[in-house]
Symmetry: C4
Subunit: 189 residues, 4 copies
């Protein structure tokens, strides 16, 4: 029951986050293809963030599928994750409208880093709740993807000021890393 | 469980898409009937998109009703569909504010085409998951409506630049085609 | 199951409608009480619409509680109701920003009338589905409130151009009429 | 069933409230750190309100977990709470954009007071429904936090015009008070 309502609330918040980002795609003045051209960076930012937020929903979904009970701190750790995800529409728009300028791109990477940290924290709180020897803890297993993501983001952060292409490639690489459906929970199910 | 959460998330995203489109109906300056007149094309676009997004929710709902299990790729195929649906508010506003000019209308048709393609892809992934001889695959049966929709959209696309009335009539025809509740799943239920 | 998803989707759409109306309460320039004064009619419109949309959610909730099965047409009748409800944010803002001028107030009443008609239609479709002698049909019973609402709205419509106070009083009267929790379904439960 | 739908609707509304507040974080013109500086008070207001609305969701969630049946008045008391919560995005933006000026800060505190009062009313209605000797009433137990919150808000209200730091400290203190997961219901579960 409790678990169900956390999932429902998280689904609601994530669904709104992923959808209101599209409001940044403001309708242009003109009515031809040229009018859409300035929207391209905003659109690409939207695609990237849609994928990233979708990945979080996906992983959240898989993780909670194996959760058996939730205590009070799980609610806070979950809200904390939703907070950093809720800044994605702002970070996405800031990055897109600047056409991937250094500082806005770095802000975007920082938000992704905070999301990753918040997700990691939520995992730890859930493992503490279930016990280190629980099926839940075992099914989480080796989280090398978590670590690889953080490392790649930490490289992308200073790179944003040097080459936005390198920084963006790293961010996209992390997304692709998570794209393959996570077998961890399925193996144990 | 997993199926339930995909449905809940999809419901959330589709509910937001269908509702935020109304934000494009901006309150006019004047307070008489004349003030509302320029809103007519925006309103008609809204009605058309409300119907189209409603149709997708309806079909999604019917299809998932027969789904018995979902794997990792279903989540991606579903997110992919939601992505193209999430562009509907932009495409609708672009079309409406241009009073159905050629290029914006073509963009709208392209988005509908991408939605149809994404829906078709989701169907294929689900069939692959259930097996070709499953009740699910059988209940999907002959999807002539899918094919007819794509054909009509493909005709509407170039027509948008020739006659917006013909293009719009084709788009409305596809919506009407799907309006009749789909008996496919009900027959097998 | 099917019923559950219609409820979930309706809850989502109604929750968004009721909440995005608050976006019309634009933050004023000044920082004192005088700055808030021009917002009073917008705020009052918001209160009225929050109550009206809340009433629809409430009645929808009570009605579906007694529903035992839903067919294809129910989905359309329900979407049709959601469509007219989705215009409430626009009608509310139009009315509020005009400080209850005749035409915008009439537009608001027309939207309420269309919502009432759509709700009535949904009731009829559900009764047809369950059969006239079903528990559902009996629990709906005498719907004098439906009729009274329509009559009061039909009087309010022309009155909007004569006296906005009379028209608003009639609209508020309908809301108060529905405020008392509906015992119809509880009696039969 | 009925309880589930109240929870789902409340989750939806609260999820939207907590998320649309981020729309006030408007993308600045510039692309450097200096461009973000004027957003700091708006961002801090957002953090504060995200925490407050999150606390309401959390408490609502815990309280309804113990609820066994809901009657008609519960729906109204719940909608009443959602109404005052729905004004949080406005109050937050008004406070943030004024950089915590006296009057907007007082408006924010008034909204928090009304939310607290509405939550208290919802509790009373639920207790009346379950009976004073019910497990539900017992698990609610001594609500000293409710009273302390109201007292602190009542002190913060006039202080807003004297010292915004003192008023904000009081508001933050109330949030911290509720931060510790409420053991009341868990003890009885």
């Amino acid at each position: 029951m409790t678990k169900g309502r956390i999932e429902a609330f998280s689904d609601g918040v994530i669904a709104i986050i992923i959808t209101i980002m599209v409001l940044e795609l403001k309708v242009p003045e003109g009515h031809d293809a040229a009018a859409l051209q300035p929207l391209i960076p905003v659109f690409l930012s939207y695609v990237l963030s849609f994928a990233n937020v979708g990945l979080y929903w996906n992983n959240h979904h898989h993780m909670f599928h194996s959760v058996t009970h939730v205590g009070g701190w799980v609610l806070w750790a979950n809200l904390h994750l939703l907070f950093w995800l809720s800044l994605m529409p702002f970070a996405t728009a800031f990055m897109g409208e600047s056409e991937f300028a250094g500082f806005p791109l770095a802000v975007y990477v920082v938000d992704l880093l905070m999301c990753a940290a918040a997700y990691f924290l939520l995992e730890r709180v859930l493992i503490a709740q279930h016990g280190r020897d629980s099926t839940f803890a075992k099914s989480l297993g080796r989280s090398w993807k978590d670590k690889a993501s953080v490392v790649l983001y930490l490289i992308a952060l200073p790179m944003a000021f040097v080459s936005n292409w390198v920084a963006l490639t790293l961010v996209v690489a992390v997304a692709l890393l998570w794209f393959v459906p996570d077998r961890r929970f399925e193996r144990h199910a």
